[in-house]
């Protein structure tokens, strides 16, 4: 079984290797056919990196076969060079396997740097081994050895740098999915078109030495790397390499310029890969921040709900104790009223617990159709006892329903009103809070909480929504951050209006079918 699988893998690998070798067999140099672009070593290295060194003999056999079929090299020489090459690739694969532990991917700056740091000197060594064998066998003269080594090194290094990351992404399920996601975006096609147009300009449109205009290709590549991260960069670099090969094919230039061009491709590849990885890391950092904000939201919610549940529990305990005392005193006729009140409190507690459970089970909450008028009414109740100079609630007639979690939105409104009341602490008695609601359009309703406190400066406007930023000495600074998170979780928004008075706008989407 094991042998069968081995042979099956080899049967897939060998034709692919031969095909790549044949496709990239352009502009060979001298009798030993040193080409400026060798993607096939990447295939061998990726195979041994992912599958293990057991594949080394199959790699050796395939290289030998390729020499015979593609290059028509004498068997004697080919035996030795194939041995050197397969040993070199195996060594490189082993080194990468050890360094990139636990998973051979390039998702972090560290992994990418290790990969590059191993591939560039590694391919130089392999090239030296290969050229050294030819030199020792007398097949290369002393004058040809150095250029041959350089050409072989650049060809292999570029081949591995461009192709190996591509193979690693394709071998990985998540990588394939990210490619598929890219293929579904129109932007991707615009980018490919721009890349193709740039390559055409470099090789045909502008005329002259392609390496003179090569810098132009950095622009679309940077765009792609910024938009799609490492996956996009890897794919784009592959496209550029293909374009360069095609360009050289169509507009043959002999000798050194191809090496120069390939060195440029190498520089481009490094730039794009690093840019892509950095974009990915930034993305991950943003995700991490969002996650911790979600946790903070959950924590704040849990605190609020714990308070909400402790209240009815306290009342329940008090009523129960009172019931005992009534019973002991023989005043059983009064028990009924106490029991009624206990039931109401138990109901209140279970309601809060149900919401708590929903919040943690679904990551969010139970949505219900709530008339905006009721939200305003609860805001009025909240503000009633807070001894503000005056408090007014107003709204259009015929305010719609919103589909929200009542507890959460009430928490947001309570937060805003408490903030407004605290903002006006300096001027007791004169404080005034207005809460109003109106329809923005058919789909959105806007609730405005306005106070006549000092307001928020334009500079502080963005800051007040950051977690752990608080104007209050005792505040955790999570109130507004959490409130905004809640508003956004409902598909709405929460914003502060700068100006001479405090003004917060909570926008919520209207429930479409309102009765």
């Amino acid at each position: 079984m094991k042998l069968l699988r081995y042979l099956r893998d080899a049967a897939v690998f060998a034709p692919c290797y031969l095909l790549l070798d044949w496709v990239s067999y352009i502009h060979p140099l001298g009798p030993f056919n040193i080409t400026p672009w060798n993607p096939q070593p990447a295939l061998a290295i990726a195979w041994m990196l992912l599958g293990g060194l057991v594949h080394a003999p199959a790699v050796f056999a395939t290289i030998l076969l390729a020499d015979l079929v593609v290059r028509s090299v004498p068997l004697g020489v080919s035996l030795v060079t194939a041995l050197v090459l397969s040993a070199g690739y195996a060594g490189l694969a082993y080194g990468l396997r050890v360094l990139l532990r636990p998973r051979p991917d390039l998702h972090s700056l560290r992994q990418l740097t290790l990969f590059i740091a191993l591939v560039i000197p590694g391919s130089a060594l392999i090239a030296a081994g290969f050229v050294g064998v030819l030199f020792a066998l007398g097949s290369l003269g002393p004058a040809d050895a150095l250029p041959a080594w350089l050409r072989f090194w650049v060809g292999d290094a570029v081949g591995v740098l461009v192709t190996a990351p591509l193979l690693l992404v394709v071998a990985d399920g998540a990588g394939r999915r990210s490619f598929a996601a890219m293929a579904r975006r129109w932007e991707t096609y615009a980018q490919i078109a721009l890349l193709a147009a740039t390559l055409w300009l470099i090789f045909a449109g502008l005329g002259g030495d392609p390496s003179h205009h090569f810098y132009l290709v950095f622009l679309p590549l940077i765009w792609i790397a910024i938009r799609h991260g490492l996956g996009g960069a890897i794919a784009a670099v592959g496209v550029v390499q293909l374009g360069v090969v095609l360009g050289i094919h169509r507009h043959p230039i002999q000798g050194l310029p191809i090496i120069e061009l390939q060195a440029l491709v190498a520089a481009l590849t490094l730039t794009a890969l690093y840019l892509g990885v950095m974009m990915d890391e930034r993305q991950r950092a943003t995700e991490g921040l969002k996650q911790s904000l979600r946790l903070a939201t959950a924590g704040e919610m849990a605190g609020a709900i714990a308070h909400e549940v402790n209240q009815p529990l306290t009342a329940l305990t008090n009523y129960a104790r009172s019931g005992q005392m009534l019973l002991a005193a023989g005043r059983t006729d009064e028990l009924m009223g106490v029991i009624e009140r206990m039931l109401a409190e138990a109901q209140r507690a279970s309601e809060v617990v149900r919401r708590l459970r929903d919040f943690f089970r679904e990551g969010r909450t139970r949505l219900e159709r709530v008339p905006v008028v009721e939200l305003l009414e609860s805001a009025r109740r909240d503000a009633q006892d807070s001894r503000i100079g005056s408090f007014a609630v107003s709204g259009d007639s015929g305010l719609p329903y919103v589909l929200v979690d009542r507890l959460q939105i009430e928490l947001v409104l309570r937060n805003l009103i408490r903030n407004a009341a605290e903002a006006m602490d300096g001027a007791p008695g004169a404080g005034r809070i207005d809460v109003s609601a109106q329809c923005d359009d058919a789909a959105h309703v806007r609730i405005v909480v306005r106070d006549n406190g000092p307001g928020i400066s334009a500079a502080r406007r963005a800051k007040v929504f950051e977690p752990f930023v608080s104007g209050k000495p005792t505040g955790m600074g999570l109130g507004l951050a959490v409130s905004r998170a809640i508003a956004e979780a409902h598909g709405g928004s929460l914003d502060a209006m700068p100006g001479g008075h405090g003004e917060f706008h909570l926008v919520l989407p209207v429930e479409a079918a309102h009765a």
Partner: protein, 201 residues
């Protein structure tokens, strides 16, 4: 000594169910109660003569329970406070104790816990009231003395003998003795030691 019956538990909590259930439970346990929905309405109604114990929620719509206590202290009243909270906030507990709350109780609580806190608050109040009552009585008794008797008293509590007092006031030692007897009768004391204690209470 004042009756415990004159002491009242003042409940300040914004949660209607908590107020109602506390009033019922505390009332059944034999305490008089008065209820307030927030600190501000308590402050508006407050009179310095109130005695007993304030059971206030920490988080109230306006002033917090601890802030309310500070305002009451500013008004010169030392009525004891018991702070209750559903938040279990360590920092708030520290603030409450720093402000000399009798106790800091986390909701939900056992009635024995609350009653223990109220009782120790009432003990403090009783001692304070008893002290105040004694002083009030003393003041009333001292007011019964004539100006001459007060002069004699001042000299007597400073340790002067009848002859010295007589010389100082220009009256006969016998008259001083008569005054002293009348003073002890009016102040209801049996000896000089009790007289001194009363004078300097």
């Amino acid at each position: 000594m004042p009756e415990r019956g004159s002491l009242v538990v003042y409940v300040v909590d914004d949660d209607a169910a908590i107020r109602d259930s506390l009033a019922l439970m505390i009332g059944l346990a034999g305490y008089a109660t008065r209820l307030f929905a927030d600190a501000e309405s308590f402050l508006a109604a407050f009179e310095p003569a109130w005695s007993g114990c304030v059971v206030a929620d920490l988080r109230l719509p306006g002033l917090s329970g601890v802030e309310l206590q500070a305002r009451i202290r500013e008004r010169g009243s030392s009525i004891p406070f018991v702070i209750i909270t559903a938040h279990g906030d360590v920092r708030a507990a520290r603030d409450a104790f720093r402000a000399h709350a009798v106790d800091f109780i986390e909701k939900p609580f056992e009635d024995v816990q609350l009653r223990a806190a109220i009782d120790s608050a009432f003990d403090l109040e009783s001692a304070r009231l008893e002290d105040a009552e004694l002083r009030r009585v003393d003041t009333a008794k001292l007011a019964r003395l004539t100006p001459r008797e007060r002069e004699v008293l001042e000299h007597a509590v400073n340790g002067s003998h009848a002859k010295e007092i007589a010389a100082a006031l220009g009256i006969s030692p016998r008259t001083v003795e008569v005054h002293k007897t009348r003073i002890m009768e009016k102040l209801e004391v049996r000896n000089i030691a009790e007289l001194v204690r009363l004078r300097f209470r």
